[in-house]
């Protein structure tokens, strides 16, 4: 998860993106979750069998730079718009997980005709419930040791995904990568905690066919939150994947890959 940096660099919108392109076929822009992404990402590997996957670290994550003016998710969205235009990507499927799903939804409401399909995996970004409710778990209060339990369906699968948190055994770059990812998540998501108060009202703007996948053991945002999120997007499909948590695509990448590909291969009409 934090061991193999992405090999390429592209500068767009003032951001030097750490990036990887894998596979052949239609363009698929993969937007990673709160723990970052690396070259060994299991879902990226599966999606690359049938698509040309472009995956970058968000500004401030991994080795992507973060200029001073990029300090909110809104800024990240514009950086990605610049990236997509710089690479001249067209007919792009957006696949975003967690905070990547938030970014994907924000990209989709912006009105660009470059994005033609949307897959959201346990996205955050929307405020549901009253002012006295917090349906999104406060991940900022977790110690590093607690991350596997909260982000995954079980501590065991979490530790497997997170290399048993054996940072002392890895090169220093891995610890730096993880620490930087955690800090940047704070910058973008501390308060309001992992949501944009305006996004819910904007979701009606999404015209692209949308699939929303949810781990039934998601402890960060529960299935009920996911159902409401999907219901706000016209025509969106909502599918629950059993036995996995918030970052379930590490735990069962085959299932997430299969369902995503089935959705992408289905006809364009809704």
């Amino acid at each position: 998860m934090f061991l193999k940096p992405l090999p390429d660099r592209i500068t767009a919108g003032g951001v030097e993106f750490e990036l990887m392109t894998k596979g052949e076929g239609k363009s698929l822009l993969f937007l990673h979750g709160p723990l970052g992404v690396d070259a060994d990402d299991p879902l990226v590997a599966r999606l690359a069998k049938s698509n040309e996957v472009i995956v970058a670290s968000h500004p401030g994550f991994g080795l992507s730079s973060r200029p001073d003016f990029v300090s909110t998710i809104d800024d990240v969205v514009y950086a990605y718009l610049d990236l997509v235009e710089a690479m001249d990507l067209k007919d792009v499927t957006l696949v975003g997980a967690s905070i990547g799903g938030w970014i994907a939804a924000e990209l989709a409401v912006r009105g660009s005709d470059r994005f033609t399909k949307l897959v959201l995996i346990d996205p955050v970004g929307v405020k549901l419930g009253s002012r006295e409710e917090r349906p999104i778990y406060d991940v900022f209060g977790l110690t590093n040791d607690e991350l596997p339990d909260m982000y995954f369906g079980s501590r065991d699968s979490g530790l497997a995904a997170m290399h048993d948190l054996k940072f002392p055994d890895f090169p220093e770059a891995a610890a730096v990568r993880h620490a930087r990812n955690r800090e940047t998540l704070s910058l973008y998501g501390w308060a309001p905690t992992l949501y944009n108060p305006k996004l819910l009202q904007r979701l009606h703007r999404i015209k692209a066919p949308t699939l929303v996948l949810w781990g039934d053991k998601d402890r960060v945002v529960g299935v009920a939150y996911g159902q409401q999120y999907a219901a706000a997007i016209s025509g969106a499909k909502f599918e629950v994947i059993p036995g996995v948590g918030h970052l379930g695509y590490y735990e069962n990448p085959d299932e997430f890959g299969r369902r995503t590909q089935a959705f992408l291969s289905a006809g364009r009409s809704r």
Binding site: F140, N144, A175, A179, R180, S186
Partner: protein, 391 residues
């Protein structure tokens, strides 16, 4: 040499009843407002006694804590501005990076300074990491917020004339107009708390008092950095009053009494780690380098104030954490520590903590004021502590 009496205004009677953290997430059902009424007024009484004994006064700020009920240091200092006569009053400190309205901070500073007759001294601080959970301000960019807040407060306090505007990144004001203006001109004396050499140098450049808490013998390097930078920037040696050090300080008439008081106060140290684990270090508060280093080494930073396991009273004193003794013993402990770190003029004393009751606190404060402070002042005046440093 100034001796500052400090107390965190705790509700220590709750500590034994609480299971787990004593701050941030601890339910406020553990706060008995009737007891709080008694404690606040007792601590204020002790500060008034400190004033009469010739101490100066230090007040801090924390939130949602059974360890410290001083949820507004300026509020406490406003009371003392009116109720004390001679003591200097230092806020150490106002957590400027947690406050969303630095204009309000400047107004409170000016009011206290004016009401006190120009006795206020202002420490602007970064604050503990878990305070961000209460203020909800972002852990990242905390120092950028701090400095913009600091710059704003200094400008507001020193500006005389028509209102000015401020269109900063973090704070925007269309009409800044400080009424009252502070009594001390151009502004009250400024302090910073420092634990890194980098920040000590920043404080030196600004000419602020550099204060450090429980930092131990390695404070020598910190103070040396300050002195080095001060000399470079201001062209003269840093006066001793530019440096401050905080430790617990308890005095008794005989060894048995010292031991009893020491044990009552030591409970304070045992309570310090009782912070919710996840809020000890919110991501972004510390630098990426520091956090990555901790992940790589598997270490959790300084443990137990750098003291050996099961520290003795002697370990505590030599470690600069807890000076406890009869007047003779305290005189020696303070002098030894002064020599160890190269001398400092602002002696910050946590003189009440834990279960030390009112009578004991007053007795300890009085004994120190009468039998230790004058000797230390004399020693420093005669350069006694400087001799050992030069050697």
């Amino acid at each position: 040499m100034r001796f500052w009496h400090f107390c965190e205004q705790s509700m220590h009677t709750a500590w034994a009843k609480i299971d787990g953290p004593t701050k941030v997430t601890v339910p406020n059902s553990f706060c008995d407002p009737k007891l709080a009424h008694e404690f606040y007024n007792r601590y204020l009484d002790e500060w008034m006694i400190a004033d009469e004994l010739g101490y100066d006064i230090m007040v801090n700020e924390h939130h949602a804590s059974a360890n410290c009920m001083s949820s507004s240091c300026t509020l406490t200092l406003a009371i003392l501005a009116r109720q004390t006569k001679n003591a200097r009053l230092v806020a150490l400190g106002i957590p400027i990076a947690n406050r969303t309205d630095p204009y309000r901070v400047a107004e409170e500073i000016a009011m206290i300074d004016v009401i006190s007759g120009g006795r206020f001294e202002v420490g602007l601080v970064k604050a503990s990491p878990f305070e961000l959970v209460l203020s909800n301000q972002n852990p990242t960019r905390i120092m950028e917020r701090f400095w913009e807040g600091h710059d704003f407060v200094v400008k507001a306090l020193t500006h005389v004339g028509a209102p000015f505007s401020w269109e900063g990144e973090f704070y925007q004001y269309r009409n800044v107009n400080l009424w009252p203006r502070p009594l001390q001109q151009p502004l009250p004396p400024m302090w910073m708390t420092c634990s890194s050499e980098k920040n000590a140098r920043i404080a030196a450049r600004l000419g602020y008092v550099c204060a450090t808490f429980f930092n131990g013998p390695k404070t020598k390097q910190l103070f040396d950095s300050y002195k080095d930078e001060f000399l470079k920037v201001h062209g003269k040696p840093a006066p001793a009053d530019r440096l401050g050090y905080l430790a617990i300080s308890v005095c008794g008439h005989n060894d048995a009494q010292v031991e009893e008081r020491y044990n009552k106060v030591k409970t304070y140290l045992d309570t310090q780690p009782r912070t919710p684990k996840g809020w000890i270090n919110p991501p972004g508060y510390e630098s990426v380098e520091l956090n990555a280093g901790a992940l790589k080494s598997g270490k959790k930073g300084r443990i137990n104030f750098g003291l050996p396991e099961n520290p003795t009273r002697q370990d505590m004193a030599e470690g600069g954490i807890f000076f406890a003794g009869t007047p003779d013993q305290l005189y020696k402990q303070y002098l030894d520590f002064q020599r160890k770190v190269g001398g400092y003029g602002q002696v910050l004393m946590l003189g009440q903590a834990g279960y030390l009751d009112h009578a004991e606190t007053v007795d300890s404060m009085t004994l120190f004021a009468k039998e230790v402070a004058p000797r230390l002042r004399e020693a420093v005046k005669n350069g006694v502590e400087a001799e050992a440093v030069a050697a």
